[in-house]
Symmetry: C2
Subunit: 344 residues, 2 copies
Amino acid sequence: MPKATIDDVANLAGVSIKTVSRVVNREPNVREQTREKVENAIAQLNYRPNKAARNLASHHSHLIVLIYDDPSAYEIPSAGFIIRMQEGALRACRKANYELLIHPCRYRNKNVAVELKALIEQIRPDGIVLAAPLSNVPRVVRAIEETGTPLIRVSPGKTDGDPLYVSTNDREVSCEMTRYLASLGHKRIAFIKGHPGHKAVGNRFRGYLDGLEQSGLAASDELIAAGDNSIRSGEAAALELLERRDPPTAIFAANDDMAAGVMRVADRLGIKVPDELSVAGCDDIALAQQIYPALTTINQPLSQMTEAAVLMLTDSQRKKKKPDSPTIVPGTLKLRESTTAFAN
Amino acid sequence: MPKATIDDVANLAGVSIKTVSRVVNREPNVREQTREKVENAIAQLNYRPNKAARNLASHHSHLIVLIYDDPSAYEIPSAGFIIRMQEGALRACRKANYELLIHPCRYRNKNVAVELKALIEQIRPDGIVLAAPLSNVPRVVRAIEETGTPLIRVSPGKTDGDPLYVSTNDREVSCEMTRYLASLGHKRIAFIKGHPGHKAVGNRFRGYLDGLEQSGLAASDELIAAGDNSIRSGEAAALELLERRDPPTAIFAANDDMAAGVMRVADRLGIKVPDELSVAGCDDIALAQQIYPALTTINQPLSQMTEAAVLMLTDSQRKKKKPDSPTIVPGTLKLRESTTAFAN
DNA sequence: GTGAAAGCGCTAACAC
DNA sequence: GTGTTAGCGCTTTCAC
């Protein structure tokens, strides 16, 4: 049988199509009795509103596009990140009755901005969620803004007072981790900085410094090493730190990969983790639970962030009013086996 | 400025909207000169056809839905699989000018079938790609078929003569791997079977038997162990095989995780891979390149499979004719360091 | 509370 | 080759 239309429902229920539309869209001003009649007709005909018609008439596409950097498929850590971002965005879309379009794109490609603009003009989504690191690329952000489509950035670097973003409290939670390590009795807590281009990672360093201060510990260059977010750089940094005259008893790395590098070096040097050295990371990637001992780290609430981003878009559409403040989704400490009390 | 419509373009170009439509849709029967006029007008007005209007009028949504099992985000191997499937589907969608909607769903959930049906009736996609293992769940397949939406299954188990699927040549390529091992001089080539519920994995075992036969080697229960696709089961199977009186010199596991388990056990037993034992896997997961020695394996052409699936859908739509044969995307041997010649 | 009428911006069918 | 006309199935506006 051909699909039922709103006219069929109206006929069967003995009302006008406008009333059917009211029922379907949960609009007010329908008598309970009328509503029931309509709902029965809908059920009887297995009526489903036609999205295309609805979109055309309402000037909304009920589509959200999630744009993120396209990794090569083999970079599995990225795969985990992406799946989690999708998860959150999908969750929100289902709640708000929107569909999600995914659009991975090559970061480095010179044409991204132009391509994205063309894409958006064609699709006409009702909103866009732009994930890091693309959310930090000015020409990409600008190109999207030029289309006039509502945009929420996830983990943007600079915000310039623009409240249309979602991020986590990297600084605060890194401070918390540092205080946690201090509370375990550690006095010499080292930090391995991450890739300088990565904004979140800079906030983590600041949080580390806050944590030292709040714990009454002095910061020292002797306790700070630089990495680039890779395992290898974590190994190098660990070697550097552990070979100093007065080595740290705890190392807090700005991401999990570098923390894994630290654990590898400790193993090689015969230093027992956590008994002789506590190690903490950031991000809570899958590896954190897989290595031995399991890594204490900070979970990055990726799916909650994209979920919040989509909800900001759909809510503001409903209320016809832009959000006036960002959403900050707090990260949480994942205390596992790689950290323990230090007996001075 | 408000978006330009087809009427604006027609006015500016001095033609009818039908002609504009012809140009936009690359239909024949437009004089070159007219085409140029129209194209200029399009460029000048930055005209983009309105998808909703087009969809409504053409009764096509230009939407493909990719449905797959929703893993918990932490199961990172799945994340890699999913990203690769998405990649292929997206590639094809871009080529054919369709959009891709992703729909992860919980395999175990009793309502999947009903929910999927409701989803499809609402979205009205032009086609559906159903990935394994869902492509093997009869009630899911049936529910989708009931909606009348064109469906292509990826790696289905039974096909019942239905040609609407894409798969890889598991059996043939596993045979090839076995012959490769034999060609290296191995006489005692063991096989670790995978989870019995997993169809592809059964085909691999058959391919192994084919390979032995084609290499003039006898199959023997002594050389066959059962696993369940997990690393742990690979370890158990390896222990069992390697402690037999006449242990194998090569072990071929039905997936990479189990092969990794084999390598772990070999390491523990002091057996050198590949010098004393060759190990081969299946799937080419990220781990295969990360472990030491890098694992010889069979790559699973996931992204090519979903790409082919989407193209089957879009092509059949264009030609208004269902595909009459499945697409088989061949897997390929990835020869790495875990296999080497055996000097008898 | 409810309904009638007028589009939304395209494609399809057919006329010329 | 090109144009005309009639919808597609909804939402919107406004009248009652």
